[in-house]
Subunit: 487 residues, 4 copies
Amino acid sequence: CLQIQFANTEDKQEFSKYPTKAGRRSLSRSISQSSTDSYSSAASYTDSSDDETSPRDKAQVNTQGSSDFCVKNIKQAEFGRREIEIAEQDMSALISLRKRAQGEKPLAGAKIVGCTHITAQTAVLIETLVALGAQCRWTACNIYSTQNEVAAALAETGVPVFAWKGESEDDFWWCIDRCVNREGWQANMILDDGGDLTHWVYKKYPSVFKKVRGIVEESVTGVHRLYQLSKAGKLCVPAMNVNDSVTKQKFDNLYCCRESILDGLKRTTDIMFGGKQVVVCGYGEVGKGCCTALKALGAIVCITEIDPICALQACMDGFRVVKLSEVIRQMDVVITCTGNKNVVTREQLDRMKNGCIVCNMGHSNTEIDVASLRSPELTWERVRSQVDHIIWPDGKRVVLLAEVMSLLSLFVMPFVSTSTALAVIELFNAPEGRYKQDVYLLPKKMDEYVASLHLPNFDAHLTELSDEQAKYMGLNKNGPFKPNYYR
Amino acid sequence: CLQIQFANTEDKQEFSKYPTKAGRRSLSRSISQSSTDSYSSAASYTDSSDDETSPRDKAQVNTQGSSDFCVKNIKQAEFGRREIEIAEQDMSALISLRKRAQGEKPLAGAKIVGCTHITAQTAVLIETLVALGAQCRWTACNIYSTQNEVAAALAETGVPVFAWKGESEDDFWWCIDRCVNREGWQANMILDDGGDLTHWVYKKYPSVFKKVRGIVEESVTGVHRLYQLSKAGKLCVPAMNVNDSVTKQKFDNLYCCRESILDGLKRTTDIMFGGKQVVVCGYGEVGKGCCTALKALGAIVCITEIDPICALQACMDGFRVVKLSEVIRQMDVVITCTGNKNVVTREQLDRMKNGCIVCNMGHSNTEIDVASLRSPELTWERVRSQVDHIIWPDGKRVVLLAEVMSLLSLFVMPFVSTSTALAVIELFNAPEGRYKQDVYLLPKKMDEYVASLHLPNFDAHLTELSDEQAKYMGLNKNGPFKPNYYR
Amino acid sequence: CLQIQFANTEDKQEFSKYPTKAGRRSLSRSISQSSTDSYSSAASYTDSSDDETSPRDKAQVNTQGSSDFCVKNIKQAEFGRREIEIAEQDMSALISLRKRAQGEKPLAGAKIVGCTHITAQTAVLIETLVALGAQCRWTACNIYSTQNEVAAALAETGVPVFAWKGESEDDFWWCIDRCVNREGWQANMILDDGGDLTHWVYKKYPSVFKKVRGIVEESVTGVHRLYQLSKAGKLCVPAMNVNDSVTKQKFDNLYCCRESILDGLKRTTDIMFGGKQVVVCGYGEVGKGCCTALKALGAIVCITEIDPICALQACMDGFRVVKLSEVIRQMDVVITCTGNKNVVTREQLDRMKNGCIVCNMGHSNTEIDVASLRSPELTWERVRSQVDHIIWPDGKRVVLLAEVMSLLSLFVMPFVSTSTALAVIELFNAPEGRYKQDVYLLPKKMDEYVASLHLPNFDAHLTELSDEQAKYMGLNKNGPFKPNYYR
Amino acid sequence: CLQIQFANTEDKQEFSKYPTKAGRRSLSRSISQSSTDSYSSAASYTDSSDDETSPRDKAQVNTQGSSDFCVKNIKQAEFGRREIEIAEQDMSALISLRKRAQGEKPLAGAKIVGCTHITAQTAVLIETLVALGAQCRWTACNIYSTQNEVAAALAETGVPVFAWKGESEDDFWWCIDRCVNREGWQANMILDDGGDLTHWVYKKYPSVFKKVRGIVEESVTGVHRLYQLSKAGKLCVPAMNVNDSVTKQKFDNLYCCRESILDGLKRTTDIMFGGKQVVVCGYGEVGKGCCTALKALGAIVCITEIDPICALQACMDGFRVVKLSEVIRQMDVVITCTGNKNVVTREQLDRMKNGCIVCNMGHSNTEIDVASLRSPELTWERVRSQVDHIIWPDGKRVVLLAEVMSLLSLFVMPFVSTSTALAVIELFNAPEGRYKQDVYLLPKKMDEYVASLHLPNFDAHLTELSDEQAKYMGLNKNGPFKPNYYR
């Protein structure tokens, strides 16, 4: 494994082919405008004006005397703690995992370096890993999404966190480096969301992989990178693909988008949904979630699709299947959730009616051809945080939500965190040889265990198979109940 | 009319019998905590910390040189203007009313004194009245709901506004007085929401009624007061009850609550709706709206009712009809929308499970027995603006949203504003004798006109009756299509 | 009252202006085709082939030795009894009314002559009236809708019934006459559905009105006629308008149509709803019920409306509002529920696509211009009972359901029967002077009582107002809870 | 392949382990009661009384002079033709397949022996195979489900059909034998639904397999048998598993059950859905379809599940997850769709309330322990075709729909027929070696082709990937778009 040289130009290019995460490179402009931020219920989005000093230039110490962290303002810890406590209420699966596994400390000895969004929800995950015995160091996978108070709360309780809202590109890599490169401490597990941390370790500290027992990766992009590495024969530890777990696909994508689409559009634009004409591009799980919610609130929804199976599902679910160009003039809202690029083109943007909202729900910011709007005849006006009005010469305005929705949807993904925690436990404790240098899906049995951890939250009562029934069905009474190919 | 003496004790008591508006008297405590406000998309909820000087003590001048207003900070006008512009997008009915009536200026000569919530939406109404020829002076009907930037934007364009977020009781009446009592200017129309302005004029300036052509009243409470006055023979001008118009009852109550219940709960508590057990008290229009939305997002909803007709509707709509006490232990969320008092009692609050959210969607804050929670064994913790955790000795927390939801729902009521504007035009222009000293409902024809003004926004195409069909149905081709008793 | 002469030409014309009931006059053709009938779950639709003798020419005696009835085949009584028993399961409100009132026999002495559809459901009503003490004689209000077995079952237990499926026009009036004109028996109550019985009594036996305490009328048409009589000063007894009761409007129209539209279309055409494009003409209660059901099963629904209030409701509920001509070419199904005439014209029928289903859900068969299809270039093909294919010269087929749907919807109207029973009890027992020679709506309190009788069927638990709450709301604890103008 | 001896005792037992198809052996009792049948829109269910002679004893000749068929009554052909024409309207995918492939006759030379339900829908499939060049001989896979008129229509146009409604066990195998065993004709393709035909050929005519190019199997049971044969090394030709195709699982199961559950319950029991308490056992695709429809029509639905993933989906979709015993006393309707056995036990049947409907939607009749109800203290009363009332000593009635619903759902499965046709074409034309002696799933590309054939029926417009987009996604522009593991 040592011989892998990751830092050469070729690899770098290979990486840059993949969709980059939400606007990392182009966000410097918007950061200073966050003073009017209010899209999140958390207060962190309102505090940037009080202090313009870079966190890197501040000397901060938590109440335990440690300064091994770098956050916006350690004094916000108490407020962040309150946000974490609120988040815990909807994450009882992790809390119950803590309780079930706390005695045996299945992560005793684990040294986890993590790179994810830093929100109240992920804080619950991190603190669960700690409760199960792990030591954690953490950094942000997005320069924009960190809840500063939450970062402070984590740092206060002793998790070295290196992250703040509005990092520069340079800050971003500096934070990752500080996270990994700690004198006298060496990670044996990597938890990544997007692959940047993994990339950095490959590039700068390949020897770390000698100790690492596995990589757990949560995102499409990161998983894509891991499969590429595997294909190229360069993956030197087992990796667990949490992105394609049932809980992520069926629950976080479908159900959470069902909730976050409404919330996100409402917070950013105050739109009323009743009677609005909406086109949703892509009828995968995310699209299905969006369509269900919008239809339920009285929007008139049509969809675009490339895949006849999804298109036929849309028909049967009561949505007209159209080409975007056929309907673009009438639409009040255009939503993209294809994962593809340039799904909404400049030509289509030109034909939209005044006031049309264009919104990307996909994970990458490639779906709307935003670059094409950076042309001199169009005026950009930032009206709220991450909400832009693009103004045509004739006065027509288009409301652009290029990145904000995918960020907002971070705040409602309670399911995948449980899968991630289980994946960490599994990889860390797996006997030698169970996993090779390859990318693995979460075993179906674990998917089912994740689901079962969530059931008490809904006071749901599972039925148990009788012996006779189990035999008749050819199933084990404790599962797995789904074939491995079930997605 | 002159002989009416309103300021005697008796009348005062008569008034105090009615439900008072949302927490006017008890809110001083919470005002200072609004620094973490972020439930509204508007920025006004985040600025209170920057300046503690009372607006009454500030000397402010707008760019036109006028100082006939009193707002938090006139410099916020530009931001407020942007909020108003956004609001205009969903209020095209008022905009089209402006256009249709602008030539004839039907309100030329009208001097309107108004007392309503001051939000971007009401600003669109006020500016419509101005565009139609009226002079307006305005004040807030609630010490809590003013969007400061919007108030500034109105003041900047020349509407004398006296209102800010977080007024004291004394400020509240001072503002009303400043609004009415202007040297050399006397109102001839009153537009009220809650009856406080009307009350003040009766009490302090009864002679004003000699010139007033009518009162337009938007709220349940205010309408209730007007009917009492009328019954007591003390109503000395015609009054228009906008609250019971079809647009208010069928559209603002049903459809807007359908949208605001989700938005409000999400912003204040981050709850996921899927699988949550919810009980909604009251299955009137507000309750129906809440139930529809929550069910659509996967909540498991049951209802309580006193009225067998509404109860049977709930059954047919697929909701279990229960008594609150039967289910209170299992509920994740309790929502009141009865208009009644003490619908949720202390005993029931004691029996709720940890984390239960209790939320009032009604117009008054009487439905939850909040007073009973002000007892020494319970700890109150304000976690977000207007969101309290009530903590029992055993650690159980109940999340209390006593007032915030009805405020939030202000931001999605585009329909009633149009009715209000039409009511003002009607009363101001009605020939002598059409309206007596009584309370009137909006003529059905006007309800239909309001609806028709909203249709273009949805690209809706009305069908016209043929002569033959009109005759067959016994209808005029231009309406009214509904009998007068239709509600 | 005696001086009323009803049989003059003028009155006859007045009557004939009103929409006539479903196809009474034009149905002779279709009767002989009922051999393939299977749209109803009841067997009566399958037996016409076994016996072509007119019931008028048969001598039949029931097991009690009576021959005072005229039905298709008294031997089918047992099967009909089973159908009635099945119907009782969903009509527990009437059953519980029987139980509550059986001791006091509130209809002792009542002699009711009735003219309604004769189905298992109305049999439950008739037998309830009998259980409460009434003597009943009954006839059918429609030549097509009688369930022969049910008529036999009623006749078997001693209710003189004069009705069969497939009566001629002459039979129809003969049956009514036999029902009214019975030696030694004179009616003191009239229960009518459509006004034909009332018309006949006015015309032939005006002296009957000397004894009649009141008329209870269930249908739009009949009520319309009564109001005309009242306006003309010719109504000589009190009449109760059950058609406009809350239970009929809000429950039977909305909820029952929600169920019967699916059932009816499925039984007659085997259509799958998913993805079908449907236009519903009219967004009243019937239209709302149809749209809700069709949308829920995946149809893509748009509506046409003349009334802006209903049109705006449609928008907010998520339906596009269009003119019929704009969409007619694309539609798979066209449904009328306006109550108007010629809503679907020949021109529009010409433009429909092959296979389009045109279906009338309204109470009259005027909405589709069926007459225009009786032209030589078009071929009619009856494919199932009351289902016609109209074939254009180019081979295009349109599936015409002109009358069948309104008949089908008879089988799911459990609510209005209870109101009818209460109206009979009220009129029969009202003290002298409570009701004059006018048309009355059911008192709101009775509407609420009807609803409350249905609640146990759903295991619904009503909440009771406390004394304090009742006072606060200004309501009596036992209702009425709705204002009288509530519809 | 020749050496396979299928007729030995051991194999027979192996077969009898599997769930047998709907009530083949126990139905003799009910056949004679079909005179009141009306659950299907087709007339065949009403004709049994006219002729009690066994079709085997009749000499019939079609108008072409052929007597190579055995149906109830060849004279019903015209009526059956009309039913087929109606069915064609909703099966435009097969019709368009006919058109696309008619020129090339891809089934020229194919000699197909088929054993399926014989309904108007399958007739469209059979006639499509003929249109594409095949010779077909056909028999019924269920003694109960044949539409006699449709069988007659097929026989009339020259397809040798051996099937009628109400076959005995002996008739059943006689028909299969007559179908296979034809002098001078030998099948080279088998199309089976349930495996009985395949079984018979293995047992009686193993040499036929020398010529057979493949077996296409539509049912769970049949597929199960094929996998067992394959595992045992006894499968001697390629087989295509159509049951697990996406169209069958996602479309026929989910969407068709969504429609057939309502239709079936309505036709058999006249139930109104609004407010009814329903428990659905099993939340797979069939259960999801049932729950969606019932909830949409106002039923209050809860579910039982053994699998935590499906249980959590139910929660998120808004259904309480319960154990059957917890709720059985309150339920109005109990629906089974697990595929398991004894899901509803005698003990639970004993605890149901009066009037409770118990209904099996699964493919086998094992889910309700019907045998336990055949005890002397209970009375069975057949109230309609295949609808039994079971009467307890205390008078309590339970309405049992053990088999009728799965038969009813036959009439709404337009999707899988297209997959079946494609599977036949694929297997018949596959080059040597593409398929071995194994069981294959339909290639994903074909699933997508099936979907695409259905889209024009919905006027759906697919979007095409640009070259750039296809490259970005790593997809071929023409699909497949789904990974092979997508189900």
